[in-house]
């Protein structure tokens, strides 16, 4: 009697698979209608967004033309556009635009990678080790509360105008955000999962790598979005404080030439870099968090 009767309804209970429009043309038509409505809404939304941008930039441009805004101080959209075109076609005073972008990007990426690595390792180590966290937590709190951006001046004295001073500043800015998230993520790991791993025979290191790390990853990934922004800030501010190349230097030269359009054009370029990086991080997040139920892993909507 008890010999393994396979349960008939087992295969049919797959809660996350999409429910097919079973039952006739009626349902299929309704599904099609719903899809169409969704698409229409998306198109409208994007049109409205474009309209918003056009209105903002247009009124700025109009303000300049009607002499309500002084372009000497505030620049103007068409001027920014001209500046960008010049940079792209004729290059900048300090070399091609691509070269400036690459220099800044290199500093930011190095700072980002090293900062994230240090933040994750230390965050998990302190999260797993009570003594270490009790020992170091006051120092970390102090270090976090000082305005770290000022350290940029120190680094440019110590490491000079080259790559190192910017990378170090970026590391310092990136580290703390990642560290606190990794630490918190480690603290919030489900006790049951840890107990289960231990009983199944996991060593402390195995439990850290296979339970704590993936579990804390949700937290860590959330901090990466902000962190790349910090890395870029570190690189650019480092260049503002003293450099021979890079977007920061380009912006500073524009400032020295009283060219608000140049400053704004620099900002636009950095903004585009940040958006591309953000898209890459989101893709990475989707890949790494495949195991999560869709309603949790989906985008936050903004």
């Amino acid at each position: 009697m008890t010999q393994a009767k396979r349960i008939p309804d087992l295969g049919s209970t797959e809660p996350t698979l999409e429910v097919p429009a079973a039952g006739g043309d009626d349902d299929r038509a309704r599904a099609r209608e719903l899809r169409r409505r969704k698409l229409r809404r998306r198109i409208w939304l994007n049109l409205a967004r474009i309209a918003l941008v056009v209105a903002a930039l247009g009124s700025w441009e109009l303000g300049v033309n009607t002499k309500h805004i002084d372009p000497f101080f505030w620049g103007q959209p068409s001027g920014v556009w001209r500046q960008l075109k010049t940079w792209i076609t004729d290059g900048t005073a300090q070399g091609s635009l691509g070269e400036q972008i690459l220099v800044t990007l290199q500093e930011a990426v190095y700072g980002f990678l090293i900062g994230v690595f240090l933040g994750v390792v230390l965050g998990i180590a302190l999260g797993r080790n009570r003594f270490l966290s009790d020992l170091l937590s006051p120092f970390i709190k102090v270090a976090n509360s000082i305005p770290r951006i000022v350290l940029g001046s120190l680094f440019s004295i110590a490491f000079g105008f080259g790559l190192t001073s910017k990378v170090v500043l970026a590391i310092v800015l990136v580290f703390f955000g990642v560290f606190f998230n990794a630490f918190q993520g480690t603290r919030e790991v489900d006790r049951n999962l840890l107990s289960n791993a231990r009983i199944l025979g996991a060593s402390r290191w195995q439990a850290t790598r296979q339970v704590v790390l993936p579990s804390a990853f949700t937290w860590i990934l959330a901090s990466l979005h902000v962190s790349f922004g910090f890395a870029l800030i570190g690189a650019v501010v480092g260049e503002l404080l003293g450099a021979d190349k890079g977007m920061g230097l380009l912006i500073r030269n524009a400032q020295n030439n009283f060219s608000p359009n140049g400053v704004l054009a620099g900002m636009v370029v950095i903004g585009v870099i940040a958006l591309v990086a953000e898209a890459l991080i989101t893709a990475l997040e989707k890949r790494l968090l495949r195991w999560r139920p869709p309603q949790l892993a989906g985008d936050a909507g903004i």
Binding site: M1, T2, Q3, A4, K5, R6, I7, L10, G11, T13, E14, P15, T16, L17, D190, N192, L193, S195, N196, A197, R198, I199, L200, G201, A202, S203, Q206, Q210, V211, P214, S215, R290, W291, R292, P293
Partner: protein, 273 residues
Amino acid sequence: MSINSTSNVIELRGVSKRFTTPSGGIYTALRELDFSVAPGEFCAVVGPTGCGKSTTLTLVSGLERPSTGTVQVDGVPVSGITPGVGFMFQNDAVFPWKSVLDNVAAGPRFRGTSRRLANEAARDWLRRVGLAGFEDRFPHQLSGGMRKRVALAQSLINEPRVLLMDEPFSALDVQTRSIMADELLNLWEQTRPAVIFVTHDLEEAITLADKVIVLTAGPGRIKKIFRIDLPRPRNAQEIRFTDEFVALYSEIWETLRSEVETAYARTTKEVSA
């Protein structure tokens, strides 16, 4: 009592467990607990909520230490995680970021088996719990009952001498539950570990066990131990209609009822106070 103490797999002697509460007080979960489980014996522990049923399991598994008394498994006092023990938790404890196959293979992998052999064993166990074909799914893609099967396979693949189960099926609906009970009995017959099965469901306890231990309202002490001599193999879905079952049920319920009432009165008093 202690004549055949060496032949028991699990042996608790004078075990008490106290916790400090967040407000600084001391809470006694278990008091002077004595019992033993023979090799291959299926032992169910029932009692009202908060009587320290689950605490017993954490002591046997080595996740916690007793405040007084001794816990022995295979004649060796428990220190650190007890080797040869499997544990099925009340809440899902399968790893959500591992596929079904990797979840089941986790135990052997932790213990240093090669990936190929571990996967082979895991596939075999997935077949035995009726989940062949689901190897690549993630836990969130499975139903509650299927996740329990994964957890069961995950525990049993290590071929434990002792299987500890903490209300493992309490989150399931009634039908799935009795199906799982059948599956459990079936798998248990194959490897025959000694089992401590904690539950608040007396029907489930009698259906599964050779021995039912009734604990008092907290702090938990043993009130009475009942032998369940129903013939095996049992059919979980039908055995409860037999006369023997009904007689046992009413006998044990007589003992359990007053404890449940005590525990209930305590919670209502706390609420009204």
